[in-house]
Amino acid sequence: MLEVQNLSIEYTTEDGVLKAVDDVSFNLQRGESLGIVGESGCGKTTVAKALLRLLPENGAISGGRVLFHGENLVGKSPDHMRRIRHSKIALVSQSAMNSLNPVYTVGHQIREGILAHSNIGRHAAHARCVEVFGMVGLEEKRLSSYPHQLSGGMKQRAIIAMALSLEPDIIVADEPTTALDVVVQGRILQRIRAIQRQISTSMIFITHDISVVSEICERIIVMYGGKIMEQADSASFFRAPYHPYSLGLQNAFPSITDITGEELVSIPGTPPNLMQEQPGCRFQERCPFATSQCRSRTPPLVKVKSNHHAACWYTDQVNDFRTRARNRDTWEAVRTRIEQQETPQQ
């Protein structure tokens, strides 16, 4: 249904050109839910915005194609995109709950969207509003509430209802629950999962929280420095990741189910500066297993088993890597290496 091919995106800034997304390819089947995870600055939100062609003015798609039902969205006119947005591909963004207009009721705002994008009448539109509110677990009477009368969780659900109202093929959700409390987040994730199964919409779920992906996505893409590091079925990924970055993340993440009491180990160093053209693997600077090959040549995304790909030159050594990655000293060595490289500033 959606095919992203070799997508590259650049931002022009005062200090030069920033390559935010570099040669990213993936596809999305009908009814599938895909999670894109990564830390701040890895390009995950930029990918989402590019799919809908909502990049800020200084951002541009510098290469690649976005095929939606076989039709390339890159280069389509703003008018054409406006018709696709919301009705075919809907976005639920992080700050969406603050994007509701305070002077109209939420019901009015959802109805306007439906009327603008389809040719059904007011009554049918209202019925549709009631239906989608039911799906997200809001009472019908809430349609006549103004945004300030709703809590953060309810507003976020109203936004999800709005996204659902035109039965889009794809919902792109960018950190839709980050601003919410745990209990509310838990409930909304449950809802999203249920709705997605019920109406078989496809979903792209963008988050920094890898455990959220584990909860609701069938497939996962791990991004780092604008590139895909690993792409896999969620179950396969969470049982046994391949990329050293993913192995590092696994050690860094506290879990409420942990009973080993082992010390968490973080990944030393900081993400790469995307302003500088960098040969080789984006992660090599922080990777405990990096070799000269990693520094000079960019590893391609290779298949490691069915539905599981990783961008690393040494996927055949993953067993050894996994053992070593669990050891704190492995990562401490990286810290020492980085500290030595940094020239003292005075």
């Binding site: 987040q185 890898i210 584990s214 993440f253 506290p254 500033q345």
Partner: protein, 337 residues
């Protein structure tokens, strides 16, 4: 130095008056948000206590009252056996030296016009350290304890030249430079990327070992609380609903609210089987509180007796106290008519 708990909080309350709305103009009664409502707790020397809860639970307010960023409405806080009724400037100053705080957002808590040296030296100067060589020595020392090594590399940098993790380390270095007894940390890692969160959590653990610091860690994130804290106090609408050893409370929650909280945490394990507890996610009304247990309107196990709950913490498992009037075995899901 006495042998009792380092921090003792007794019957602490904090009420905020609610602004009257127009239609309440003739309503004589002043309404209050009871942000913290009669809580008592103790923190042992060298212990890390986690304060957990959702927004509006009163966890941040509790932390801020203990550092005296806010005044309590009533109640007593004893530090090392001494009440914190510091009325003189000198008392207050002494107290500030002993209790320090680090905040959530390392991007906002550092003065952008101060370099790292000035940031950390400021509290020393305020507390009367005049000797330049001593200031320099102590600033470098605390930077190195906060793992910004070698300190000389960082002294002259400004906040904008530092990463988020480094900024939080500078904030920590500033917090420990006066060698406090207590450190209160309010969501210190929630703004940081996961790959560096562990560093800060490990640093806090080491601080406890190295300086014997006692800590209160305020967070909504049960996973980091479990990792860092010895004990956890779960708050709901101004009340402590459960308190006990962190691992035990998370593995065997006794209060229905704690159960809900634990079951809401996403887990990165495809084989994890969750004890689903369904709950109404509508936020509670903070002004019109129900009689008795405040979780009653959302509680899947609520019964009529819950209105008679007096919030007393009952020891349900060793050292684990719950304010629920029922034992774990007595809790049955409410039948839906």
């Amino acid at each position: 130095m006495s042998n009792g708990p380092l921090i003792k909080v007794e019957k602490l309350t904090k009420y905020y008056p609610v602004r009257r709305r127009l239609r309440r103009l003739f309503d004589r009664e002043q309404h209050y948000v009871r942000a913290v409502d009669d809580i008592s707790l103790e923190v042992e020397r060298g212990e890390i206590l986690g304060l957990a809860g959702e927004s509006g639970s009163g966890k941040t307010t509790t932390g801020e009252i203990i550092v005296r960023l806010q005044e309590a409405t009533s109640g007593v806080i004893l530090l090392d056996g001494h009440p914190l009724e510091a009325d003189t400037r000198a008392d207050r100053k002494r107290f500030r030296r002993e209790v320090q705080m680090i905040f959530q957002d390392p991007y906002e808590t550092l003065n952008p016009r101060f370099n790292v040296f000035e940031t950390i030296a400021e509290p020393l100067r305020i507390h009367g350290v005049r000797l330049k060589s001593e200031i320099a020595r102590r600033v470098s020392e605390s930077l190195e304890i906060a793992e910004l090594k070698p300190a000389a590399n960082y002294l002259h940098r400004f906040p904008h030249e530092l990463s988020g993790g480094q900024r939080q380390r500078v904030a920590i270095a500033r917090g420990i430079v006066l060698e406090p007894k207590v450190l209160i940390a309010d969501e210190p890692v929630s703004m940081l990327d996961v790959s560096i969160r562990a560093d800060i959590l490990n640093l806090l653990k080491r601080l406890r070992r190295r300086m014997g610091l006692t800590m209160i860690y305020v967070s909504h994130d049960l996973a980091t609380i479990k990792y860092l804290c010895d004990r956890i106090a779960v708050m709901y609408l101004g009340k402590i609903v459960e308190i006990g050893p962190a691992d035990e409370v998370i593995a065997y929650p006794q209060h229905p609210y704690t159960r809900v909280l634990v079951s809401s945490v996403p887990v990165a394990d495809p084989d994890y089987v969750r004890a689903e507890v369904s709950v109404d996610d509508a936020p509670p009304d903070q002004i019109n509180l129900p009689e008795g247990c405040r979780f009653t309107p959302r509680c899947p196990f609520a019964q009529s007796d819950c209105a008679g709950c007096d919030h007393r913490l009952l020891e349900r498992r060793p050292k684990q106290f719950s304010a629920c009037i029922y034992t774990e075995a007595e809790l049955k899901p409410r039948s839906i008519p």
